[in-house]
Symmetry: none
Subunit: 210 residues, 4 copies
């Protein structure tokens, strides 16, 4: 059983996390000083260090929410296995909607700044989810691991590239349009790698795996 935590502690930590997020939106991750956070959260500097050792620690703590949310998305999409046949990444649609709702925040995190850390974290999350999806589509040994990895990084980079651009652009596309575009781009890649190698490995795309 977890010991019940002093409510002051929870309150303080929440204030810190929210202050950081606010400031990221306001002026970008890298420009934020510890003192900015403590002022915004209206706490003493030593109190900050009593709870978090680093700005990054606060950030990663805040990020847990997003992680769990995305996990929900992908879990839902996992339910309907028939969709594998469609060569679509089902979690992209709700992701676009979600991002669009918290546009300000994600602009700060991905679109412009966020100190790399955010980008890396989002990349990790996307990577993991796409990896799972791809694994499910492929037979155990086909295509070879290196090819799968390449594909996943290709897709992750592409998706983040489009999403970043989308966030930086005013009034460009609705979330559904972004999803549609991404799916149309992704489908051939998914089909090529996951099908080529599983259905008829012999007629593969010619890429030799060492």
């Amino acid at each position: 059983m977890e010991k019940s935590v002093d409510r002051r502690i929870l309150r303080t930590r929440k204030a810190i996390r929210e202050a950081l997020i606010d400031l990221i939106v306001l002026k970008g991750y890298d420009d934020i000083k510890i003192q900015d956070i403590t002022e915004k959260a209206d706490i003493g500097r030593s109190t900050f260090y009593a709870h978090y050792s680093t700005k990054d620690a606060v950030f990663l703590d805040s990020f847990i929410q997003l992680k769990s949310w995305l996990k929900t998305c992908v879990d839902m999409s996992r339910v309907d296995r028939k969709r594998i046949l469609t060569h679509r990444l089902e979690f992209i649609a709700p992701l676009c909607v979600h991002i669009n709702e918290d546009r300000k925040l994600y602009q700060a995190l991905v679109g412009h700044r966020g100190g790399g850390l955010a980008r890396d974290e989002i990349r990790k999350i996307l990577f993991e989810h796409i990896r799972e999806d791809v694994e499910r589509r492929c037979q155990p040994r086909n295509p070879p691991k290196v090819m799968r990895d390449a594909l996943i990084h290709y897709l992750v980079g592409a998706i983040i590239g489009v999403l970043s651009w989308w966030l930086d652009t005013k009034n460009s596309w609705a979330p559904e349009e972004v999803d549609e575009f991404l799916q149309s781009m992704i489908a051939p890649s998914l089909e090529k790698i996951c099908s080529d190698y599983s259905v008829s490995p012999i007629s593969g795309c010619g890429l030799s795996d060492e």
Copy 2:
């Protein structure tokens, strides 16, 4: 005529730039202090500030080389216009070879750290070159600008994603294999957007451009 510059200046600046590059490979961009550079370059601290106002300034100055090199690549590929029919991005092959040769440096710049700045710069360069290529493949008004932008960011992100992964992975692929993989992934996207919209705009992928 450009006024001849004091040779001491050129020597000093070169030393600074080289020191920075060495240090990036050694310990990553963000961890480098001005003093590290001055010690490595064996100059006084005030001398540094006499030439560059910022670490970033040095970096960007160093980057001019890469820019010009890439320009050469794309200019060469521009010669043969028939290749547009192949739906290939010709500059990728020499780029892969080049990166592979300076692997250490590019690992530092892109694969792992480089303080975002490097990533942004490389992104800009790729963006520009892909934009030119795409423009040449498309008719003036088809596909609409927003679609072209999306495509370009998709490709830039995807290419950087794969290259980053490639740099971080030991003994994975030869440069030619990376090129071959990227081309096979890119081709359908290029074909879809650049052809779909020009040959039969009516049967487009359904994405409306507002």
Copy 3:
């Protein structure tokens, strides 16, 4: 009630002041660097700036002691008003004794170096005390202000001149001899100005007081 000050502050400031004084004796005011002080006081450089903005500020803060001491001297001499008749500056005797006791310090401050600041401060203190004394000896409008000012500056300069010489000279005179000499020099000047200008020198002096 004065708010109780953090004792750490008092301790740090005291250490700084004492370090400065030690260093003045050791190597002269002008040659002292901030870092010399912080090393001697065994504190961090930023701590120094947290308390004093300038070397001068420390010095002037240290000087308050001397000021109060001199104030005591002159206050004591003020008690006995009959002494005005003697044309003596009563505070000189204890001053000479005091200086002789802290000879090392005053040599640094006045006799040789002390960066002008010390000299100026001591000059101010002497000026003020002599001014008070002279005012008490004179009638309100006689002698005219300009004459009184001239006299005071004459005396201040003369006293500092002799004291400086005395400090720079080994084994020259005992404090009492210096006092005696100064009094014998000063007396005619005091008498001349303060008496001459009164309507009737014999009755005038010593009667009127503001």
Copy 4:
């Protein structure tokens, strides 16, 4: 025979000296940087160092003029030996006139700032001249050296004190008034020391001279 010096060198040195003097009047000795001088003199910084090693060196070089001028004053006053009987320091009158003429300069040198160096130099000059004068008034062994030194420092300090005050005060006194005041103050001191100690003050003084 001294080789005739390149006139360019003389011109450059003169420019440096004049620039320094101008700047002293303008902003005080201590605040002047080498670069200020070189800019004012319109020369390169290395040129400065080719001629003078220090700001002080320039200053002392400039000061030679004043020295020689004062020498003239005192030499003239030496002519009339009867004046020794008057207990006056004859060189003070022309000194006051001279100072009044170059008031701006002397204000900078003595009255307010001049970095101590000026004060020290002037002090030295006065000291030397007063010493000569006093020596002439006294018998070889009376008064004892320590007494004479004390007197001289007393007078030097007093004179500089009054002159400094005079320079700092607008419209206070005419040069002659300053002289008259100083003489009236000095006379008793001179008389006391130089006569008292002689066996017979009336006949003693003014007879013996080296």
